[in-house]
């Protein structure tokens, strides 16, 4: 498969994202799968191990997804290393070895990130006219060049942020003065803000702000995006506690707090629908993928889709991953909600004591 074929797949992906429709999505996914079967060695091997001919597949479910751990143990890319434009790395706190996502082209990533965020996080901003002050509890991409989250939020500042947007997470810690100043100004000017941060950053901020007794009622139109786990960097709080914490500290109604679900191994992201569907028919929060993304909840052993309402593991088919892994299998537990949404239930922890067995077996292979 050559450059022309690859370019055609990228163009089809960009068109699909722009159209925000899911027609022709599955056909595109299968074509990308066939491309990667020939060009992405780990995926070729996975298909060979399972005895699967990608050309015989009629539906994305007929083909396996690449488990996220593979990104920690092999190069997952259709292109050579000298064609890497950007390499995103996982945080690596759970197992020591960091996963790597090698991108040769940021156009699909940017297109997907912008479209999904506009639809779910900034639906009220008129394109090319409205901007919002973004207050980011995420490092600047210059400080964390291998963080996909830092890159994404940096791009949000480019696309959606007003000139007074700020980064308030620096050198691994909260810049509290900056945060306070930004939020005080927003309140004084009655200008809404978007607070964007990771769960552990919000918890660390909370622990500092509660001591100072600082609290805000942010102007109407403000919103919060919260993402990621705690990764051992802060105490853990339940989802309900997180909502109450954010609503209480920043004076943003819970229905304007949006969780984002993404990962280093993907180019697209998924958001909760609370901003666009606050009185949702399902009475509770759920993630709904953008139209170009296919999310399936699969049985942990058979890896086949589970019946609606059953718990399983999240599988994500992402055409924006044209050059890497079109389908990614996670160890995140979830349950489907409605026809198109899902609710996350946390990670599926392995039954073997992680630290103990990991240290032992790494001694074996070192």
């Amino acid at each position: 498969m050559g450059t022309r074929e690859r370019r055609h797949l990228v163009d089809r992906t960009l068109t699909l994202i722009d159209r925000a429709a899911d027609t022709a999505r599955d056909e595109l996914l299968l074509d990308i799968a066939r491309f990667q079967a020939e060009t992405v060695e780990p995926y070729r091997r996975l298909l060979a191990a399972r005895g699967i001919d990608p050309h015989a597949a009629r539906h994305p479910d007929d083909l396996p997804a690449l488990p996220t751990d593979v990104f920690r143990h092999a190069r997952v890319a259709a292109h050579a290393p000298d064609q890497d434009l950007r390499v995103f790395r996982t945080s690596g706190t759970t197992s020591g070895r960091r996963g790597e996502h090698h991108l040769r082209d940021l156009a699909p990533y940017d297109r997907a990130a912008r479209a999904a965020a506009r639809a779910s996080l900034f639906p009220d901003l008129v394109a090319d006219r409205d901007r919002l002050r973004l207050v980011c509890l995420v490092p600047d991409p210059a400080e964390a060049p291998d963080s996909s989250l830092a890159y994404m939020v940096g791009r949000f500042r480019d696309w959606f942020g007003s000139p007074d947007s700020v980064v308030v997470w620096r050198d691994g810690a909260l810049d509290r003065d900056r945060l306070e100043r930004a939020l005080d100004e927003a309140v004084a000017e009655a200008e809404p803000v978007a607070l964007l941060g990771t769960s552990f950053a919000f918890v660390r901020a909370e622990d500092e702000l509660v001591e100072l007794g600082r609290r805000w009622t942010l102007p109407p139109g403000s919103r919060v995006m919260q993402t990621g786990g705690f990764k051992g960097r802060s105490r853990e709080v339940t989802p309900g506690e997180m909502l109450a914490l954010l609503a209480g500290r920043y004076g943003v109604p819970e229905r304007r707090i949006v969780a984002e679900y993404g990962m280093t191994e993907l180019s697209s992201q998924v958001y909760e629908t609370t901003l666009t569907d606050p009185d949702g028919a399902f009475g509770d929060r759920r993630f709904v993928p953008p139209p170009w993304l296919r999310v399936t909840i699969v049985h942990p052993e058979t890896l086949r889709p589970v019946p609606d309402g059953d718990e399983g593991l999240v599988r994500i088919d992402d055409p924006a991953n044209v050059d890497t892994a079109w389908a990614v299998q996670t160890s995140d537990r979830a349950v489907r909600v409605g026809t198109d949404g899902f609710r996350l239930l946390g990670r599926a922890e392995g039954a073997v004591p992680r630290g103990c067995s990991l240290a032992v077996e790494e001694a074996l292979w070192s």
Binding site: R45, L46, R97, E301, L313, Q329, A363, L364
Partner: protein, 386 residues
């Protein structure tokens, strides 16, 4: 001592007998509490209890009591055994030997599985109601200080099974005057010598033995092999041997099926198999998978157990010993397929403090009554000498 040994052997026979009420109850209830298939439970009961005869137990205890001669053996008065839940029959050795030596035994069972130790207590009580004062099973969450502290204070010996974190925690809480015998986390490994790869028949025999070693207790115990090293130079190479091992595991699945896979393990298995396929070679069989790891690259993720095993090529026994010797005390068992002199050749090659049980393949999970565990001899480990 003789009376105690006879009673213990009668209790073991009672539990081993599928026709007895307790034996039947064990076979009925243990699959649910252990997560093993009913066939695997029956196999485990037969193989672990079958060796607990009066003669065999008496012989081991007598030898233990004589081990420090002419010094006088001082048996323990009260032994507390902290049990892990991964291999349900693991409670037998520490409990049986402590009772045979006349100690009072309190077994703190794992909250994951406390059925078997309670069945053992019931079997003993059936032979003689007086045993209820000598052997008691308690269950509460590990680390419950207000319950553990008086137990430890009353003991003169604590025998502990568990993860390294559990052992570390216990060390800080068992009084200095109480002896702590530790059995922490570990893994098994295996070596197939070139002479067992010289012919299809020999390779198939080794594969059959190893398949049982992997399949027993669904590869959840410290004696279970997580990886098999195959010596290069035979007619059957590592991948060909892996194929045979996979086929033998498929055969075992028919008579000793794997238990249901917990969803957390299924996720770990999915990841492990994905990496194995992406990095090397993978054969997924019926309730099992065998991978072949190619040279170089990053260390693979740990096997999730449940019959997922890695095969690796290896130049010679010395390289195998140097590799697995790095595990130190975590190396609990080595299965060997080859000439009779192989264990004797391996033992001096393993650097201290590694002291695994070395046994022929096919027997890794059925140690005889007098087998050492973590370098400690049964019964002898509980005694002091004066």
């Amino acid at each position: 001592m003789t009376g105690r040994v006879a009673a213990l052997a009668r209790a073991a026979a009672l539990l081993a007998d599928p026709g007895s009420d307790l034996g039947s109850e064990a076979r009925r209830s243990l699959p649910e509490t252990t997560g093993l298939s009913s066939e695997m439970v029956a196999w485990a009961l037969e193989t672990s209890l079958g060796s607990l005869t009066e003669d065999a137990l008496g012989d081991v205890v007598r030898r233990a009591l004589a081990a420090g001669a002419p010094r006088r053996p001082v048996p323990p008065r009260w032994v507390t055994v902290i049990l892990a839940g991964n291999v349900f029959t693991a409670c037998l050795r520490p409990v049986i030997f402590a009772l045979a030596l006349g100690a009072r035994v309190v077994a703190k069972a794992s909250s994951r599985e406390d059925r078997f130790p309670r069945l053992l207590a019931a079997a003993l009580a059936e032979t003689d109601p007086g045993w209820t004062e000598r052997f008691e099973v308690v269950t509460f969450p590990g680390g419950t200080a207000e319950l553990e502290a008086p137990l430890f204070a009353a003991s003169d010996t604590v025998v502990a099974y568990g993860s390294d974190e559990t052992i570390q925690d216990l060390r800080s809480r068992v009084p200095a005057t109480v002896r702590l015998l530790e059995h922490g986390h570990g893994v098994g490994t295996a070596f197939v010598a070139a002479e067992m790869l010289a012919s299809e028949e020999a390779a198939a025999e080794a594969a059959r033995g190893l398949a049982l070693d992997v399949a027993a207790y669904d590869q959840r115990g410290c004696l279970s092999p997580v990886a098999v090293w195959v010596e290069q130079g035979g007619a059957v190479d590592a991948q060909a041997f892996a194929e045979r091992l996979g086929g033998a595991l498929d055969d075992i699945e028919r008579r000793l099926p794997r238990g249901p896979l917990p969803s957390s393990v299924a996720a770990a298995q999915m990841q492990w198999r994905g990496v194995a396929a992406a990095r090397g070679w993978l054969r997924e069989g019926s309730g099992n998978a065998v991978s072949v790891l190619e040279d170089g690259g990053t260390p693979p993720p740990p096997s999730p157990g449940y019959r997922n095993v890695t095969v690796l090529p290896c130049p010679d026994l010395e390289t195998f010993a140097a590799t697995v010797g790095r595990l130190g005390v975590h190396l609990k068992a080595v299965g060997m397929a080859g000439g009779d002199d192989l264990p004797k050749r391996l033992a001096p090659l393993l650097p201290p403090p590694a002291c695994p049980r070395i046994s022929p393949v096919g027997t890794m999970q059925t140690p005889p009554l007098d087998a050492a565990a973590d370098g400690m001899l049964p019964g002898v480990d509980l005694l002091r000498w004066m």
